[in-house]
């Protein structure tokens, strides 16, 4: 356990000192500062109606989740492939450290950074609510907790890809593709469930549905789904599972499989 924690803390140190993470934090703070300014100095409702400022505000708010996704990819794409290829892992693995301990330590370091970033986002959302005197919306805090979980799942998938493929950019791209594929694949799976698609195509879609991750639904998107009828946003979000309880179990099992496969592949990987 000491080896895993040592590797995880070294990984956190690495991410803290990489300018990329600093960029994400600074950019987030800038966006939130802008929102706080608008909240304090304008009637936000009227501001949002104003085309130019309104568009900028909505775009800024939309950037926050996108930035957390990018940050999650950035902190996990170099977890295994690069250190194995450039020799940085050699000195660590020359110690009495097993490969799985190295992979787990790197992944835990990434998850700690992701959870930290989401906590920062939740804190900023809380401060905006406090300044705005609109109060703290528990759904917003729930949203960031769910986001932290989903992004940890993404980090697990990108780490698996980094073990399998090695090249950081290809690992990042393919990992994100697998993570994001849940939405369209789930929508297609609805067609299979309804009997609209049968035979070979149905088998392919069903297989694809099983290998794409099932993310947790945020309280915000759940309330959005409730407002819709028929196939709501919950379908588009990855679906046909009862609720967050089933999704949680599925996501944990998915993460466990991704991490176990990473251990097995890392065990056979040669270190430069």
């Amino acid at each position: 356990m000491r080896a895993v924690l040592t590797i995880a803390s070294a990984s956190i140190l690495e991410h803290r000192r990489r300018k990329l993470i600093g960029f994400f934090v600074v950019a987030t703070l800038a966006i939130v500062a802008g929102l706080i300014y608008l909240t304090l100095n304008t009637d936000l409702g009227a501001t949002l109606v104003n085309a130019a400022v309104g568009m900028a505000t909505i775009a800024s708010v939309g950037l926050l989740p996108a930035m957390t996704v990018l940050a999650a990819i950035a902190v996990s794409m170099n977890n295994v492939g690069r250190p194995f290829a450039d020799g940085e892992a050699a000195l660590i693995l020359a110690r009495p450290v097993a490969r799985w301990q190295f992979v787990l330590g790197r992944l835990l370091g990434s998850i700690a950074v992701i959870v930290g970033l989401c906590a920062l986002m939740a804190l900023l959302a809380t401060s905006v609510g406090t300044i705005d005197q609109s109060g703290v919306n528990p759904d917003v805090l729930g949203h960031w907790a769910v986001t932290a979980f989903n992004l940890s799942l993404l980090a697990g998938i990108v780490t698996f890809m980094s073990t399998l493929i090695g090249h950081p950019l290809i690992a990042a791209f393919s990992g994100y593709l697998l993570y994001a594929a849940a939405t369209p694949v789930s929508a297609l799976y609805v067609l299979v469930s309804n009997g609209n698609v049968t035979g070979g195509p149905a088998a392919v879609i069903t297989a694809a549905w099983f290998i794409t991750p099932k993310k947790l639904l945020s309280p915000l998107s759940q309330s959005g789904a409730a407002a819709e009828s028929g196939i709501g946003s919950s379908v588009a979000d990855g679906v046909l599972l009862a609720g967050n309880g089933a999704r949680f179990g599925w996501a944990l099992a998915y993460l466990a499989v991704a991490v176990t496969l990473s251990f097995l592949i890392a065990e056979r990987k040669e270190v430069s």
Binding site: A3, L91, A94, P96, R268
Partner: protein, 239 residues
């Protein structure tokens, strides 16, 4: 005398180049300073990496102090100084040393003193904050310092004097002497014959992944000749 390292019919083939190790049998006695000699591409680094479990042999057996190489437990008490050491450039020398001290399970009470002692010996106590600003020589000295942490039972040195100035080379030699006096086993992987001749009491010459000769320095190098002559003659006889 117990064998510190025992290799039997060891084979490690690289698919693309066809190089590697082809049926190596080698026993390294405990408590010796053992020179592993060979031209570039002979398989010296491959052998060291197999010992540390960084590469998996295709066949044969390999053990360290009786424990099969590749298992984490076989690396307890083993220090390694690679040919091209690579540390996270975001770290400082002290942070690297602390990470390695924890990885070898050094008791918390001993970490501070062991780290500062090794950094002082490597002349890195006042080194700049981040490794990215270090010279090649400084990175090598740091690699040596981390390899010697916890007074290892076995020290694996892969071309340790490359990029070092004469003072740095002397430091390496002194550290080898210190390790031998402690009763440790040192495996010095080098193609600098003068370094090996000065430091080692046992030698093995490897060429194209096969063992050509092994023995004590006096067995291998008859009086009136030198290691370079023996080495060149052996290699040329194979060509």
């Amino acid at each position: 005398m117990t064998a510190a390292v025992d290799a039997r019919d060891l084979v490690k083939r690289y698919r693309k180049s066809g190089r590697g190790i082809h049926g190596l049998n080698l026993e390294i006695p405990e408590g010796t300073v053992f020179g592993l000699l060979g031209p570039n591409g002979a398989g010296k680094t491959t052998f060291v990496k197999c010992l540390l479990g960084l590469l998996t042999p295709n066949s044969g057996s390999l053990s360290i102090f009786g424990s099969p190489a590749g298992r984490p437990g076989s690396r307890v008490g083993v220090g390694f100084v690679p040919e091209s050491p690579r540390f996270g450039d975001y770290l400082s020398a002290e942070e690297v040393m602390r990470i390695h001290a924890r990885l070898i399970n050094l008791p918390r009470s001993q970490i501070d003193s062991a780290v500062s002692e090794r950094l002082d010996a490597a002349d890195l106590a006042d080194a700049p904050k981040r490794i990215k600003s270090y010279s090649k020589g400084m990175v090598r000295r740091l690699a040596l310092a981390q390899g010697l942490l916890g007074e290892p039972r076995m020290l694996l040195l892969d071309e340790p004097t490359a990029d070092l100035d004469p003072i740095g080379r002397r430091t390496v030699r002194n550290q080898i002497v210190e390790a031998r006096e402690r009763g440790g086993t040192v495996i010095l992987n080098s193609h600098l014959l003068s370094e090996v001749e000065r430091s080692c009491d046992h030698v093995a010459i490897i060429h194209k992944g096969k063992l050509l000769a092994t023995g004590t320095m006096s067995e291998l190098v008859p009086e009136g000749t030198d290691l370079e002559t023996v080495f060149v003659d052996l290699i040329e006889a194979q060509s």
